[in-house]
Symmetry: C2
Subunit: 205 residues, 2 copies
Amino acid sequence: MKLPGKTVQRLSRYRRILYKYRYLEEPYIFSHDLARLLNINPVQVRRDLMLIGGSGNHRKGYHVKELMQLIGEKIDSEKGRKIILVGIGKLGQAIAEYLSDREMFQDIIALFDIDPVKVGKTMYDIPCFDIRDLSQMIKKKKVSIAILTVPSDYAVTIAELLIDSGIEGILNFTSVRLNTPENVFVQDFDIITSLEEMSYRLSLK
Amino acid sequence: MKLPGKTVQRLSRYRRILYKYRYLEEPYIFSHDLARLLNINPVQVRRDLMLIGGSGNHRKGYHVKELMQLIGEKIDSEKGRKIILVGIGKLGQAIAEYLSDREMFQDIIALFDIDPVKVGKTMYDIPCFDIRDLSQMIKKKKVSIAILTVPSDYAVTIAELLIDSGIEGILNFTSVRLNTPENVFVQDFDIITSLEEMSYRLSLK
DNA sequence: TTTCATTTGTTAATCTTTTAACAGCACAAA
DNA sequence: TTTGTGCTGTTAAAAGATTAACAAATGAAA
Ligand SMILES: NC(=O)c1ccc[n+]([C@@H]2O[C@H](COP(=O)([O-])OP(=O)(O)OC[C@H]3O[C@@H](n4cnc5c(N)ncnc54)[C@H](O)[C@@H]3O)[C@@H](O)[C@H]2O)c1
Ligand SMILES: NC(=O)c1ccc[n+]([C@@H]2O[C@H](COP(=O)([O-])OP(=O)(O)OC[C@H]3O[C@@H](n4cnc5c(N)ncnc54)[C@H](O)[C@@H]3O)[C@@H](O)[C@H]2O)c1
């Protein structure tokens, strides 16, 4: 049963909130609490949970741990996905730290860079390898997702390398469009678009 | 006339593509070219352009410069918005460089940090000020948007300072939820959600 | 000049996502 | 035991976004 994309995004967020709540003495949480913490509508929370077959107590709300478990069953892949980060500069390091810091339900297994000063080091508990080892690692460890934070000039070359090595998804932070085959998902990030959209929204007020 | 949010986002992207094309000898571009460059449907491009009253030549496509101009009229605010970046660490610097690098239709006027090593310097052509000067600058220069990249522990305090100083929108990169009044827009960024959504999508294949 | 292939502009249909509406349960308090 | 409040679960309606379908325009080639 396919879940709506937006629902999956919210489930991911619910789970991280639940994670923080997991050891509080109150083992239950209300849909309106989750909603408030994400600035959304409580109905939407309940609807999302309904879609994954979640059920709460009419008086106490949803059982925190039970719900975390259920969300995991629905959105995580059975074996857990392996993730790598390519290009460990300013942005790559910020992301590496961010991801290693918090409870992730995915596995960042390696960083890659071309700079000999970085290669061989362990940063934020994640080992950094030479870009020449990228292909082998992807194949051997069955890495499914790569976060791409190399300088734009190298984006296309590295993306081709990733694809040839069998990567399935790329989170692309470079401003370069990647020409990928159908079966490789790409998600582009772009702060300028967000800035301009916010600017437009402000103008409407 | 209010444009759909998604359309505004795409218009922002069209414009950046057009910008690259502006001095090529061919002054026209087809909807399917724009579409291909963004991995979207050409009908969608035409529909977006229709919404802002754009019109193309049935044989040559859209006039690049004319279209750039038109998009600007529709999505930019008359006076141009001022933007600041708060917290110039790994992520903040990456964003500062990224934004100063490319043609922006918004104005990054200042960086703010608490670290005396950074304060007073000019980074990527943008001057960095002490966080104590934040409030005054926002009021004096009528800054409308802040990009928040301070450590999570400081997020709430700095956000309150921003709001009290009259900021209208915040792009929030910290993992902390900001409790803002109705009239202040917040947009949260979160790579974990994107990773988990991609992971889910890969599982569907 | 006429034909033809190609692209725009627009309406309608479809698909997706959010919100409204409300029945029914659970528990606390009377 | 009964009543009332405040939740959940679900269906239906509304809103938002994408895609299909096709008429009309253009200009190149026949
Ligand atoms: N989408 C956004 O909003 C956004 C924001 C900021 C930066 N960016 C982009 O992210 C990318 C990284 O930015 P940054 O500030 O971290 O740059 P950076 O220069 O600080 O870091 C780049 C890193 O990549 C490494 N590298 C270079 N060539 C490589 C190769 N062939 N293989 C592996 N590693 C290689 C370098 O050694 C360096 O460590 C840039 O493309 C930038 O434009 C995007
Ligand atoms: N949303 C995401 O996907 C994502 C990714 C990476 C990092 N982050 C978040 O972004 C933030 C910054 O990350 P980073 O890696 O750049 O951290 P960093 O430690 O490298 O940089 C933080 C900067 O903020 C400055 N600072 C500290 N206190 C300040 C204050 N009171 N006022 C002004 N400046 C102050 C520091 O001097 C430093 O320059 C963190 O909250 C991190 O969790 C989010």
